[in-house]
Amino acid sequence: MLRYVAKRLVMAFAIIYFVVSLSFFMIRLMPGSPMAALEGKLMQQGGMSPQEIRQRVEAVYGVTPNAPVWHQYVEYIRNAFHGNLGTSIANPGESVVHVIASAAPWTIFIVGTSLVISFILGIAIGALMAAFQNSAFSKVMTFVVSFLSAIPNYLVAIVLLYFLTDIYHYFPISGAYAVDVTPGFNAPFIASAIDHAILPITAFVITSFGAWALGMKGTAVSVLGAEYVRAAETRGLSPKRVAQSYVGRNSMLPQVTGLALSLGFLFGGSVFIEFYFSYPGLGYHLIEAINSRDYSVMMGCFLLITTAVIVANFLVDLLYPAIDPRIARPALRRQVAEPDEPVAVGGVQV
């Protein structure tokens, strides 16, 4: 178990390191790189000595412009791991860490809530579809669910926005909470935050619960036909026991694997959803930063989105051995076939 955890941790750090390097590459080495562009812009504006320009660029990106590239790289990596990601270009003086620290909780709130709701809803519907395979319910649901999961989430966001906030004003149009409440642990603030989160979460859930339902149905149907289920039934175990311990638990395994894979997709999708609902999370700031060419904020948001996915993945990995003991004990693992990679139906991994 310890080895298993250690391996996952090393992998997590390797990915974060890779993303930080990538962001250095983007800022510094790309042809017409943002850093060179900023230098050029300041030079053109005039009124600044080369010394001042260098200081300004250094403040924004956290690297010394005319040092050797490897030196800049080391400096950048060290700064990043110390939590210094430079300052915003669009709003000088505002540190990138400050921007992303205020945005992250909102993204994690709506993505986390949507994930829990669509996972539970999808698993329940999928289990029902498998239990009543040839019923009208199952047929109608299969149709509905594959239809919904094929629709891009941003289109659902636009439709909700159009009908529920612009034409009929049922929900607030932007922000994470109303201006007249004070953030903190008080009822008006919480109510306002929920009111603002309902539409973004709805857009997520509508487009993502279907994939869980289809996945759950698929595995549950194949588990229902397995010999150990028939053996359990023949032994006279109660239907409830068979459904929970034999069918339920084994059908859940691929879904939990899918949980880890879907996280990146969800966090990616939140870029669109936050943007359209003007919800001040990481995705919203990412788009704003891209549009204003604020590369340091852009890479900061990207780094934090990636880190959030890695942390969540790590939690799923820790959860997995509790559900499937074979994972943490490689000696047992060899005896079981490698689990099939889940194929996302409709909700394609992008």
């Binding site: 390797a14 990146g264 990616g268 995705g283 788009i287 549009n291 989105i305």
Partner: protein, 283 residues
């Protein structure tokens, strides 16, 4: 020939899948002949803005006075073109990496899979957004390359796990004993066995690419040359389409075009699914 007969037999029994196949085919035809049957101009004629549907403009006109239907027809090609190109690149990279990694095994497999895992973990859409914001190219090939950056690792992993189990099979053993080269084993022995899975993934990769591509145009991040659905929705929203009911057709027509295509693709894959997995047919 038996393949086509099976295809038809399955398609006939599953009418939703058949409709999906027909719709996909229709979109392909429109993408090919679209620019020859109608034109979309960018000229503005405010006196004809937001006309209600008529014979000459079956879906009404947009805020610039252009026919919405014409724009949708012309916009089909760029979307399909990039979607198919991106899916081809995705499938090529995914299959080659997966087969080579799974077949070689050992250290090579370990290294390749760790790299794949890194790409698999990084959230796909944000990286695509960032790369295209730096590159800013309207070239379809470049756009397709960017879109496939995040799409190949999932397929590579799936193909690898199939290659792993094929590796120990008798016919691979026989080929190896005969001294077949790596490229021969990968392309002639392994590839045909993962073909069905890859075919299904190819269609899903197109839907994934279209999702991300339209998204890029919607956000106005990918530079637009000519007309396409994403750019249409973007300009509809910039023209204030969200705040008036006049522009409903202008806003919702391109959205419908996308949804119908995406849903059709998913149903279409169902035919291939039961074609290649005889076990599914029995159920």
């Amino acid at each position: 020939m038996s393949f086509l007969r099976d295809f038809w037999r399955i398609a006939r029994s599953d009418w939703t899948a058949l409709i999906g196949a027909v719709v996909v085919l229709l979109y392909v035809v429109i993408a090919v002949i679209g620019p020859y049957i109608t034109q979309a101009s960018t000229a503005a004629d405010p006196s004809r803005a937001y006309l209600t549907p008529s014979l000459s403009h079956p879906l009404g006109t947009d805020s610039f006075g252009q026919g919405v239907l014409s724009e949708i027809i012309v916009g089909t090609r760029p979307i399909m073109e990039v979607g198919v190109l991106a899916a081809l690149i995705t499938v090529f990279v995914g299959v080659v990496v997966g087969l080579v990694s799974g077949y070689l095994g050992g250290t090579a497999d370990n290294v390749i899979m760790r790299i794949t895992d890194v790409f698999l973990t990084i959230p796909g859409l944000p990286i695509v957004l960032i790369i295209s914001s730096v590159v800013r190219s309207a070239n379809p090939v470049v756009l397709a390359l960017i879109l496939s950056v995040a799409a190949w690792p999932g397929l590579a992993r799936a193909v690898r796990s199939q290659a792993l189990s094929l590796r120990t099979s008798d016919f691979i053993e026989a080929a190896r004993l005969q001294g077949a080269s790596l490229s021969n084993i990968v392309t002639r022995q392994l590839l045909p066995n993962v073909g069905p899975y890859v075919a299904i993934h190819f269609l899903l990769a197109i839907t994934g690419a279209i999702y991300a591509e339209v998204g890029l145009f919607l956000l106005g991040i990918a530079p637009v040359s000519g007309t396409n659905w994403g750019a249409m929705i973007n300009s509809a929203m910039n023209q204030g389409a969200l705040y008036t009911t006049k522009s409903m057709l202008y806003l919702f027509s391109p959205m419908a075009a996308i949804v119908i295509l995406q849903v059709a693709f998913v149903y279409f894959t169902r035919i291939l699914d039961s074609l290649f997995n005889p076990r599914l047919r029995v159920q």
